[in-house]
Structure formats: structure tokens, C-alpha cells
């Protein structure tokens, strides 16, 4: 290609460990979870995967809280990170 423009191939962690950006940590209460997978659908960073219950990859979860916001049964609580 003769042309230089801004192109990147998507790879895991292309922007580094974005989990360090997090101020609030989403914590799933599996006793409330109805496995509707809305959190998995809406997560903008693909940091939620489908296992028996949704599981969150804290290496990359930025703590945006969208999962908690879209959860219809309020099974995801946003807890302040303690450091």
C-alpha cells in the first residue's frame, strides 16, 4: 500500500490494560442474574463473555457501568475500587 492512513487490526489489548482506568467495578450477583445477556450485548469493550453466567474480564473492563445500567434485574452493582 502506497497510502499511509490510520488503520489498525483489532487485537486483544491493542490499547493496553484498560482495566487500570476503572474507578467503579461491576460485580454480578449470580443469584439475581436471569441470563438475558443484555450486559454481554451492550458491553462496548467486549469485556463480558458468556459462561454459565456472564463473566467480566477485569483486565480490560473500564468500569463504564453500561452493563449495570442495562441489567433488567439490577444484578450488577458498581462498587468503588479500593486502592
Amino acid at each position: 500500500m502506497n497510502v499511509k492512513t490510520a488503520i489498525s487490526i483489532p487485537t486483544e489489548g491493542a490499547m493496553g490494560k484498560t482495566g487500570t482506568w476503572r474507578v467503579f467495578r461491576p460485580v454480578i450477583d449470580t443469584s439475581k442474574c436471569i441470563k438475558c445477556w443484555r450486559c454481554w450485548i451492550f458491553c462496548p469493550d467486549a469485556a463480558i463473555s458468556r459462561n454459565e453466567y456472564p463473566s467480566i474480564d477485569y483486565e480490560y473492563c473500564k468500569g463504564c457501568g453500561i452493563c449495570s445500567n442495562v441489567c433488567p434485574v439490577k444484578a450488577i452493582e458498581m462498587r468503588r475500587e479500593e486502592k
Binding site: M1, N2, V3, K4, T5, A6, I7, S8, I9, P10, M15
Partner: protein, 371 residues
């Protein structure tokens, strides 16, 4: 085939013959009849393109960018305030290296509200990385659009191209235009081969964050592409000449060889200046004309004459004529005139008068203040 029609209808015809897959446009005076005609072509099935109706010119350019990024040929047209509303997206198209072709019908900027010819709209886009071509006749409008695709899509260029011409003076004036057959156009302009595409099978991110050093490389590559374009414009113009009998370059020189003073201008003013040169010559004056066909890339190498008279239908307040100042930077004896803003008529007689004034060592706003 000879077609007698307005520059706007000729532009629509040229765009149709280039076979864009996507057209996204918003109507604005004096460009409207281009969009109307293209919508008609699509509606009648004469042009197999997606016509996206958008809510603004910013969206029109954004839609063209998205479409071009999938690797298809695109077209849009605008004017004046519409072009200015696109400004952010013009930079994006340039840096994304997408060879979108757009017509801009030159029109003055308001307030005061004015729909007549003035080149300030397109000249204000000079740093966006778009190739800029200026036409002096409806024939040039047609020829420039066809060539623009071939130049913009060249793998050594890959930059968007703007075809500009004067509102009403050309846009709504009928002239005879030689139109090649579709077969001849297809042979001259093969289908577009993109340098990168958005493809769901091979996902990429475009427009991602770029750190300082690679960013500078991207800018350098873009500047090099503009420099490469000079050669490509001349090659494509020569090939066009061989095939269709009308040769093009970066500039058009008329009776310049022995000229004492060379008039430098572009767009419709250049057609008028050509008549003025003949009139001046018949009176024994050694006048010449250098018409700028391209403003970006800027053809510095052709502006070699000792004495030049630059007529600008544009103004950079606080500096002066835009073309004048780009040329003056070369250190030659240059006389600058601002004329015809907001569609003020500038006839060949005015240009003869400007020539006489320059010979007296004067310059300035014609006829408002010349000294």
C-alpha cells in the same frame, strides 16, 4: 455527440458516466439542478447507484466517506455554505485517503446573502488535502470530472478531488459540450481499485488513535501524494487529449511566449481574460494568460514569468488576494487585483483596464480602490 446544456446538467451527466455506486447530496443554490438531475437518473434506472438523501452537507460528506471506505466510487456536489458545513469531513476524507469526487459550484458567502459567483468558498478549503480543479467552460466541467476520478484513484495519489466552477456564469448557462460514448469513458476510466476497504470478513479499525510520530508520517504521505498528483494530472490530461482531442495540464498558457505581462487567473475569469489578451494583442500590447487549472496541487513551477498580473475573485481579509499571495511568495514582480466578488461582472474590457493599471504600477481593489 454534442450536448447543449448548463454546466450543472453537464456535471450530472459526467458523474453518471463515471458510474458512482453511491451519491449522497443535499441541495443548495446554485448547485441544486445537479442533485435533481442525478436523482432523476437513479429514479429512472439510468444510473445504478444508491442515492442517499441526507439532512445536511456534513452528513452528505460523511455518507460519501463511509461509502468510499467500503471501496466504491462516490459522488457529491455542493456550494458555498454547504461546502463550509462539510469542512470537518473534508479533512477526514483527505486524511482517510478516499478518492471522493465532488463538484463545488462557487458562490459567495453570507452575510449579506448572495448566490453569485465568488471563489472564497472553495479556496477556504485549500488545506484539507483535496485536489482542486477550476473550470472555465462547460466542456472543462465534463472533462475535469472524468479525469478527476482517474487522478484521485491513482495508487500514487489516493486523495479526494473537488471540481469547482462559477455559479450561474457556468452553472446555469448552456454551452455546447462534446460528450464521448459510455464505451469510450469506460475504456478511459476503469473500475475503482481501493487501497484499503472496510470488509466484515477482514475487520479493521479506521481512524484509530495514532501517536505523534506515525501521525506525522501520515501527513507526510499526504503531502507526497499531492506532489505525485502533479505528474499524474499531466499524464492523465495527456492521455485524455490523445483519446478525446482535448489535452489538459496543471495550467493552460495562452500567448505567453513573448509576453511582457502575463495575466494569472482561473475559473470563468480566465475565459474572459483570454478575450482580453486577444484584444490587447490587437492593440500592440504583448499580453499573455496563464490559467490555473489546479489550485491544489499548486503549480509553482509554471509561475516563472517576470511580470504577472493576478486577478482574484476572492479575498483573505487582512492579507489580500489568495492566489496573488501564493504567487507573490515566489519573489516575482506581481500585481494583484481583487475583482468580481459576489458575482460583480468582470468583462474582458475590465481586464484590459486592469492590464493598463498594472502597467502603471498600480494594484488593488478593482474598481473600488486602485493605487
Amino acid at each position: 455527440m454534442i450536448v447543449i446544456d448548463t454546466a450543472n446538467h453537464i456535471a450530472a451527466l459526467a458523474a453518471k458516466m463515471a458510474k458512482p455506486a453511491v451519491i449522497a447530496a443535499y441541495p443548495i443554490t446554485p448547485q441544486t439542478t445537479i442533485v435533481e438531475r442525478l436523482a432523476q437518473y437513479v429514479e429512472k434506472g439510468e444510473l445504478k447507484a444508491e442515492f442517499i438523501r441526507v439532512e445536511s452537507e456534513h452528513s452528505a460528506m460523511a455518507a460519501c466517506i463511509g461509502a468510499a471506505a467500503t471501496g466504491v466510487r462516490t459522488f457529491t456536489a455542493t456550494s458555498s455554505h454547504g461546502l463550509l458545513l462539510m469542512h470537518e469531513m473534508l479533512h477526514w476524507a483527505g486524511l482517510a485517503r478516499l478518492p471522493i469526487v465532488m463538484v463545488n459550484v462557487n458562490r459567495a458567502l453570507g452575510p449579506g446573502w448572495n448566490i453569485w459567483s465568488d471563489l472564497n468558498d472553495s479556496l477556504a478549503q485549500r488545506d484539507t488535502g483535496w485536489l482542486q480543479f477550476y473550470a472555465s467552460s462547460n466542456q472543462e466541467v465534463f472533462d475535469n470530472i472524468i479525469q478527476a476520478y482517474k487522478i484521485a484513484e491513482n495508487s500514487d495519489v489516493m486523495l479526494p478531488a473537488m471540481i469547482a466552477y462559477d455559479g450561474f456564469i457556468l452553472s446555469h448557462t448552456s454551452m455546447p459540450v462534446e460528450v464521448p460514448s459510455q464505451q469510450e469513458i469506460d475504456a478511459f476510466l476503469p473500475p475503482f481499485k481501493p487501497s484499503w476497504t472496510l470488509d466484515i470478513e477482514n475487520p479493521i479499525t479506521h481512524g484509530n488513535i495514532v501517536p505523534p510520530e506515525p501521525y506525522m508520517e501520515i501527513r507526510y504521505s499526504m503531502h507526497q501524494a499531492m506532489e505525485n498528483a502533479k505528474k499524474i494530472i499531466e499524464e492523465v490530461g495527456e492521455e485524455f487529449g490523445r483519446k478525446f482531442g482535448r489535452e489538459y495540464g496543471l495550467v493552460e498558457e495562452y500567448r505567453c511566449e513573448d509576453a511582457d505581462y502575463v495575466i494569472v487567473t482561473m475559473a470563468a475569469l480566465a475565459a474572459e481574460a483570454r478575450v482580453a489578451v486577444d484584444e490587447l494583442r490587437s492593440k500592440g500590447e504583448k499580453a499573455g494568460l496563464l490559467k490555473l487549472r489546479t489550485f491544489r496541487p499548486f503549480p509553482h513551477e509554471y509561475l516563472k514569468y517576470d511580470k504577472m498580473i493576478v486577478i482574484d475573485r476572492d479575498i483573505s481579509p487582512g492579507l489580500g488576494g489568495i492566489v496573488y499571495n501564493e504567487i507573490k511568495a515566489g519573489g516575482k514582480e506581481v500585481y494583484g487585483f481583487i475583482a468580481g466578488l459576489g458575482g460583480v461582472d468582470v468583462s474582458y474590457k475590465d481586464i484590459e483596464r486592469i492590464y493598463e493599471l498594472a502597467k502603471e504600477g498600480k494594484e488593488g481593489w478593482y474598481p473600488t480602490e486602485v493605487k
